[in-house]
Structures are given as structure tokens and as C-alpha cells.
Amino acid sequence: MGRIWIVFSILSLLYALLVVRLYYWQVIRSSSLRLAAASQYNLTLPLPSQRGSIIAFDGKNVVLNQSAYLVFAESKKIVSIASFSDSVAPILEKESKDLSALLSDSSRVWVPIGHKVEASRVDQLKNLKLTGLGFEKEPKRYYPESSMAAHLVGFVGSDENGKDTGYFGLEGFYNRELAGKDGELVIEKDIRGAPILIGESHRVEPEDGRSLVLWLDRTVQRIVERRLSEGVAKYGAKEGSIVVMDPKTGGILAMASMPSYDPANFGEFSREFYKNPIVASTFEPGSIFKVLIMAAGIDAGLVTPSTMADEPGPIRVGEYFIRTWDDKYRGMISMTDVLVHSSNVGMVFVEKKLGREGMLKALHNFGLGEFTGIDLQEEAAANLRKDSEWGEIDLATASFGQGIAVTPIQMVRAVAAIANGGSLVVPRVVKEIRDMTGKTFAMKPGKTRTVLSPSSARIMTEMMIAAVDRGEAKWAKPKGYRIAGKTGTAQIPVSGHYDATKTIASFVGFAPADDPRFIMLITLREPSSSPWGSETAAPLFFTIAKDLLSYYSIAPE
């Protein structure tokens, strides 16, 4: 009886093991086995999607796809490697001996010898009628305007799997929309791997990428790039950047920085050129920042354009003395004159009126220390120090734009609130997204919050007009136009102290002041002809403003 039980137990155990094993293969490993089996009897051919285009405001392409090919060689089929290399190498702009060495590697049967080769060169190669030379579609990006708006559009490179991926700017930010979704064709194959014509097949159509329609105006962009290039050369600046925005919608009309790079040949440039300094780099704004603190004082009802401040001499804050930029002191001056003469002492008066709470509220209100939400990949937000860490001297220097860092896009957005009647807008590069069927999705202009009352914005605009008409740069202003603006010259902090010889010259302004068509911020790093914004950035601003007013057919009053 005992032996029967032993046999029964062993059989039961074996049966249980069998069930467990079956469960393992049929349930746990089923998906991987199904895939392994499918790879044995199915042939999967990728159907790549087409990347979407990037289109300017006027409907013209800024970036589109170009027919290009992957050129490959099948070494075993080549009759003579030497003559093959001699014929192919010049067309692919390669050295014949390098190509010959590559093809002589007996371990490789399929050798890619040229990536993204243009159709015209492929036609030349096809005409050679060489055995062992093959082509596969591999579209590449084409830039009809050459390197125009390079920082804005970004570029397309390869990811770790060799797949095209967008990096930086719009290509990076909208990579998913632009890339679309690859399809595939699955067909049954025979034992040699050849497709079975009457076998089962399954086709998933690729979804082409969507196209982006921008706010960017090609003409404005070209004007800005040409003038920036001239300005950087004329004033001997190390770097320069310009952003032009519609202050009402936040639409970016133009954005240019120097030095720049060529997105079609991005590999030939150092990586440091890839980031767009307008959204990714910070600077101490200097006097252009005064308009924000003054606007906060006016909006809080603490000062008016005619409020008088005493400017007897350097003013002491803690253990430091704050001076005016020209070390001249004008006694009693109005708030308008504080801006006209860009008085640091006058701004400390406004800062004292605002107090600690008012200053911090103003900084936060104007969106400093936070992302603007612009649709570009590499946006950085300069962090403001914690509220509790602001000392008396920090608040005083911040009132005239020193000791505080902002990105150019943060600065232009904040000043746009004065131009548009008090709204802090979200800067936008893309106006609408268009799919392959032509259906469009509008990217509505975004408003973050109201930061000024319309009347405060109007008062501030008049003060900025006075700063242009009576300020240091009045000589450069085009006659007959009401332009609101402010110059800035900020010293650059180097290893914990300010280098007196190195400045960032800037100018921010909008025109026509009563119904602004554009707001523009210009920054020039370390100009050598003059350190002052009034002698470098301001004349450059007015030169571009003249071009734009003429382009928009806005007549002088």
C-alpha cells in the first residue's frame, strides 16, 4: 500500500511540474516566443514618416525635407574594388584609398558609404551603372534661407539608435509633432528570407509629421540678422543678440544671435554655439531694468512722473555708496528725469518707497525667476534668490538692474507688459500647427496675468518716450515717430567682482509707442568702440526700428 502512495505522490509531483512548466512556456514566455516565431516567419519593413516643415508667417518654408539617399556598397558583388572606389569617391567627396580600405574589409558584406547624399549626386552615381552600388531613401533637412534663424529652428541629428531627432530650438521642442510616426509592412517570408507574395501581410501606414507655422517674419528676421552682423562689427562686440516680439500677442517676429552656426552642417561648429542665448543665457540687465521698478512704483501709487527725488551726491546704503553713471548729481529731479538721466540714486529712492515687500512683489510679478513658457527647447530661468536672502544692498542695486540676472526673453516679456497695457504674455514662436490633411490647430496667445493697470502702463510709456527724446541716445532717434525705450549699460561680474572695462550694452524699446507694432531688445556683449548702451545698442536699435517702420509702412507723425 505504501509503495502505491509513493508512486502516486511521484506521479502527482511530476504532473504538477508539467503544469508549472506549461504555464511558464505558454503564459510567462508566450509574448517573447510569439515575437521569436514572428521574426522567423515574418519580414518587417519600416515605412519611415516624413518630418514636418517649418514655415514662416508669409507661408514660405524656412525648413523642409530634401530628397536624399543612403548610398551603400555590397562588397561581394563588386568586380574591382580599386576602380569602384576611383569612380565613386570623387562624387561622394571622399578619398579613394579610404573608401577602398573600407570595402576591402572581408567581414562586412553591406557597407554604408554615404549618408544623406543629395539626389543630384545620386543621379551621377546611378549613371556609373556599377554592380554592388545601392541606394536607400534617407531624407535630410533643407534650409532655403541658409543659416537664417539657426538658433530658433535648431537642427536634426541622430539619436543613439541612428534615428533622426530634433535638437534645440523648434526642432527639439516640437520633435514629436515634427517627426510623426513610422509605419511598417509585415509580410511572411520563406526559408531564404524572401517575401512570400501570396502570404499574409499587414501594413501600418506611416503618419507624417505636422508642420509648424511661425510668427516669424522672414523679412524682419533678415533685417535683424543683417543689422546685428553690421552692429557687432561696427561696435567691436564679442557677442550680440536681438529679439523682436509683437507685444500684444507675444508672437516672436525675429530672433537672432551672434556668433551663430549653420544647422545644415551643425557638426562643424562647437557645441557652445547650439544654445540660443536669448532663452538660455542670463545677463545683468543694468539700466533697462529701471523701467520695471519705476512701473511698479507708479502702479502702486507711490510715485508719479513729477514726484521729486533728491540727488545730492552718492547715496549710502549700508557700507556701500551708490553713484550715478556719470558721477554728476542734479539735486532735486523728477521721476521722469530719473529715467531720462538714468539715475541710480533716483532709482534707490523708488526702491525705498516700494520697500522690501513691494520690490519682491514687483520682481515676482514681472515673471523674473520663472520660465516664460516660450516654445523653445533650451529655455533657462535665472533663479532669483530666496525672498529671505535679499539684503538691503541687494534690493538697492536690483532697482537699477545690477546684482540680478535675467534672460533676454524674460526681460523683453516684462517690458512688453508696459507696451501692451499691463499684461504679462507668454512668448510664442509657433502660430499654428498644420497636419498632413491641411487641418490647422491655432496656438492661441497666452496671457499669464495682469501686472500693471492700463493707466500705469500709459504713464510709463510716456516716461519711456521722454527717456528716448531727451536721453543720451536722442541723436539717433528717427524724427517724427513716438518711440518708447531705455538704454542700459551693465558691468559684467567676473569672479565675484565687476570688471569696469567689460560691459553689456543694451536697449529695449517699442514703436510706435501709442499702438506698438513691435518691441525689441538688443544686447551687445563687451563692445569695444564704446562701453555705453547709448552709443552702441541704442543707435543699432534705431537703425533697425527705421527699417521696420518703413517695412510696416508706418508714416511719421
Binding site: 518654408n61 530628397s67 533643407y142 532655403p144 534661407e145 524724427k479 515717430y481 527699417d547
Partner: protein, 86 residues
């Protein structure tokens, strides 16, 4: 009777297969035509983009003897002689 039916079925099968193969060829030809037209479209798009680029327009304008905008001088109202007659 049975052999006749078998032959008949074989003939029908052959006809259907032939028709299917022919249809497949037509589909393949249509696919090839679509691809060729798409490729030509892309090339034309490239050409249009290249010819309508501001760089090309600028070059053409220079070739035709046009120059860049001269300095625009604007006059205020007080500088303009509105009334030449008394």
C-alpha cells in the same frame, strides 16, 4: 465526371490566380507612380523654396541693378513748405 470537375477547378484557380497577380502588378505600378510623383513634388517644393528665398531674391535684385534702401530722412511738419502760394 470527377476528373472534369477537377480540371475545371484547376482552370478556375489558374484564372483567379492570374487575375490576382495582374491586379497586384497594377497596384505595384500605381504605388511606383505615386512614389515618383511624390518625389517630383518634393523636388519642385525644394526648387520653389530655393527660388523664393530672400537670399535668391536679393541676389537677383542686385543682378538687375537694384540697390539697398538709401538712408530715409524724415522731416517734421515744421520743415515742410505746405503753402507755396500766399
Amino acid at each position: 465526371m470527377a476528373p472534369i470537375l477537377v480540371v475545371l477547378f484547376v482552370v478556375v484557380e489558374l484564372l483567379v490566380t492570374n487575375e490576382l497577380a495582374g491586379f497586384g502588378r497594377k497596384v505595384a505600378e500605381a504605388d511606383r507612380s505615386i512614389e515618383a510623383v511624390s518625389e517630383e513634388n518634393q523636388l519642385l517644393n525644394e526648387k520653389i523654396a530655393s527660388l523664393s528665398s530672400l537670399i535668391t531674391i536679393d541676389q537677383k535684385a542686385r543682378e538687375f541693378g537694384m540697390t539697398t534702401t538709401p538712408v530715409v530722412i524724415t522731416m517734421g511738419g515744421e520743415d515742410v513748405a505746405f503753402h507755396l502760394q500766399p
